[in-house]
């Protein structure tokens, strides 16, 4: 890669500025309400974490180069310049203390979509050489090995064997013409192998044809987290190529919020064309199976359960009701956290924060917001549907000595499947 410089960073900022961004910066009145929606500010109390302030480099470029008054100020020598030192200082603000959860975008009184701008600002940070080491390494691994964690197919193949022997079922691989191509996240493969077994059993139960692809199994996109369009587009192209090779009409994003927004919403724009297939989060697929009576379950969880909505799935993708319908199917004592759905609070680990080792203390600080929510409801277990959120919840609850196990929704559904392959009528009378 050619050298990363301030000039390239500024050029990238320039290239990212569009009509929404100009409208957003034109509208900010410095009311500071965005800070009241940010777990990183609220849990540290440090005003430097105010969301709109994190965008100052992009704002300066916009003012100086995209406004009449900015140009006049420039001629008069009054321009506030973006310097390399400034970007170095802002690296922490744009990466370590922002999970791009989008909560500020929901509450800004003038309507600024701050998360949209953070995503774009990161493009300039990468080009100027101010991205965190952890994310750079994850991106390099994603490009060279296909997985941000360096996971290879042979590791997954071992897991597939385990799943097959414990379930007695076949995990389809490279099956041309299946209905669904199933993608996974490395985090899931390593931390939560039970997910693969769960979908194997559910899809067998519901008679769904599906397949994994040896060509591409990774759904996450390190290029989006770090903010590099080229890397991000390359990773999306791999998924598209795999789906096209297997001629599947549908692709499933795993229990990972980020992977879903990456492939569902950003992917087509990164490659500049529509997909020849549709994309669903696993929760959407399960909900469709439930609604059409293809999920037959028995028994219900009886303990007090609550749920963490992944930001990327709920607020940023509109999947809010499906997970609740699925909970109702298998849990009789489910209670929502106070602020949930589109107003849920981030676990603190999204947006690349969890891949950025340096951000660990901030990540745990931000978690305290979630912790307070959980303490208020006092569940016996938490349910979620994102491997990153789940890891963060487990680590956080452990750190604060809270004995609350965290389970994935898909596994919980799989645990309640009626054993035998059922007839096609609806058992939910």
């Amino acid at each position: 890669m050619s050298e990363l410089t301030l000039e390239r960073g500024l050029a990238a900022f320039r290239a990212e500025i569009d009509a929404p961004i100009a409208a957003f910066f034109s509208s900010c009145v410095h009311c500071g309400i965005c800070a009241q929606s940010c777990p990183f500010y609220l849990e540290t109390g440090d005003p430097k974490y105010t969301p709109v302030l994190k965008l100052e480099p992009l704002r300066r470029v916009w003012e100086a180069e995209f406004t009449l008054w900015g140009r006049i100020k420039r001629i008069l020598g009054l321009e506030q310049k973006v310097t390399d030192a400034m970007l170095a200082e802002w690296e922490e603000l744009l990466y370590d203390s922002c999970s791009m959860c989008g909560r500020c975008s929901m509450v800004c009184p003038v309507g600024n979509d701050l998360a949209y701008m953070i995503r774009k600002t990161r493009e300039g940070m990468v080009q100027s050489g101010h991205a965190p080491e952890g994310l750079i390494n994850a991106s390099i691994r994603a490009i060279t090995t296909g997985s941000p964690m360096g996971l290879q197919w042979k590791t997954l193949a071992v897991q597939i064997k385990h799943v097959e022997s414990s379930s007695g079922l076949v995990v389809p691989v490279d099956k041309v013409g299946a209905e669904y191509l199933v993608l996974l996240s490395s985090m899931e493969v390593i931390n939560f192998p039970e997910y693969l077994e769960a979908i194997t059993r559910i899809f067998d139960h519901a008679g769904v044809t599906w397949t994994l692809s040896t060509q591409c199994f990774e759904a996450t996109n390190a290029g989006i987290q770090i903010g590099n369009k080229d890397i991000a587009a390359q990773l999306v192209e791999r998924v598209v190529a795999a789906a096209e090779a297997l001629q599947v009409p549908k692709v499933i994003s795993p229990e990972c919020g980020h992977a879903f927004t990456a492939i569902r919403w950003e992917g087509p724009n990164l490659i500049g064309r529509r997909y020849p297939f549709r994309v669903f989060h696993i929760v959407e697929v399960l909900e469709e199976l439930r609604a059409s009576g293809r999920l037959k379950t028995e028994g219900k969880e009886t303990d007090r359960l609550s749920m963490h909505d992944p930001c990327n799935l709920a607020r940023k993708s509109g999947v809010i009701q499906p997970q609740r319908n699925l909970m109702d199917l298998v849990a009789e004592n489910f209670v929502d956290l106070d602020e949930h759905g589109k107003y849920q609070w981030c676990c603190g680990a999204g947006g690349g924060v969890s891949s950025n080792e340096r951000a660990e203390p901030l990540k745990m600080a931000a978690f305290k917001r979630k912790k307070a929510q959980i303490e208020k409801v006092e569940p016996e277990r938490m349910v979620t549907m994102c491997a990153t959120c789940r890891t963060q919840l487990e680590e956080g609850l452990e750190t604060f000595n809270m004995d609350i196990p965290v389970v994935g929704l898909t596994e919980m559904i799989a645990d309640h499947l009626v054993e035998k392959t059922p007839a096609k009528d609806d058992t939910r009378a």
Binding site: P20, G32, L68, S105, P109, W265, P268, N269, S317, G318
Partner: protein, 220 residues
């Protein structure tokens, strides 16, 4: 007295024209600057159209969600109070209605003067409260710039000089009125070049926000 009258006539004549031209050209330039940039084509399969969710957010974003209100009640309440007070004084005071009628030829009913007077007094108090808040709240103090204080000063002076002129607290009256008109003109002149543009661009920003979320199936 004579020079006060000259001053008043100047604010109502040449200065008014200058202010209106700068305001109109500046605002038009800003709007063109925004819309000329456009948006990239979005290839992701939408869950819903953009228009309706966009317009809904234009309206709904005026009221915060309950959690935000609990966390920032002062910000929300005082913000609401002074914006309403300012709008009432601006749009429903008899001389202002007459001015609009004279310039644009359209008019609407005004409120009785004592009512507008109360709104104006409340606006002045709440503006002072916003300044105190800006100077004391850690977030607001940290993010505030010279522009924030400049804009506050101009807005405050517009309301204050109006109040002083109405109550004949400055003599001679033409000087008081001239000062009020001049402050309003300064307000108009700086509007397109400061955060005052939010008066117009908020609606654009909210629409883009609502449209982007709405497309993904979330009412923002």
């Amino acid at each position: 007295m004579n020079s006060a009258m000259d001053f008043l006539l100047w604010t109502k004549g040449p200065m008014f024209d200058i202010a209106m031209v700068i305001f109109a050209v500046g605002l038009l330039a800003r709007l063109v600057e925004i819309f000329m940039l456009g948006r990239a084509t979005n290839y992701a399969e939408p869950r819903a159209t953009e228009w309706l969710p966009g317009f809904r957010t234009v309206l709904t974003r005026s009221v915060p969600d309950p959690g935000t209100f609990q966390r920032a009640p002062f910000n929300v309440l005082v913000g609401w109070i002074w914006h309403i007070g300012f709008l009432v004084a601006l749009l429903l005071f008899v001389p202002h209605v007459e001015l609009v009628k004279g310039v644009l030829g359209i008019s609407w009913p005004a409120l009785p003067n004592p009512v507008v007077d109360v709104f104006t007094a409340v606006t002045l108090f709440s503006l002072v409260a916003t300044l105190v808040h800006r100077l004391t709240h850690p977030v607001k103090r940290h993010i505030s710039t010279v522009e924030d204080y400049l804009v506050w000063t101009v807005v405050f002076l517009v309301v204050l000089t109006g109040y002083l002129a109405y109550h004949r607290l400055v003599n001679p009256y033409p000087l008081a009125l001239g000062m009020h008109i001049l402050c309003a003109e300064i307000f108009l002149i700086i509007l397109p070049f400061t955060k005052l543009t939010h008066i117009f661009t908020t609606f654009i920003a909210r629409w883009y926000n609502g449209a982007a979320f709405g497309r993904k199936g979330v009412q923002s």
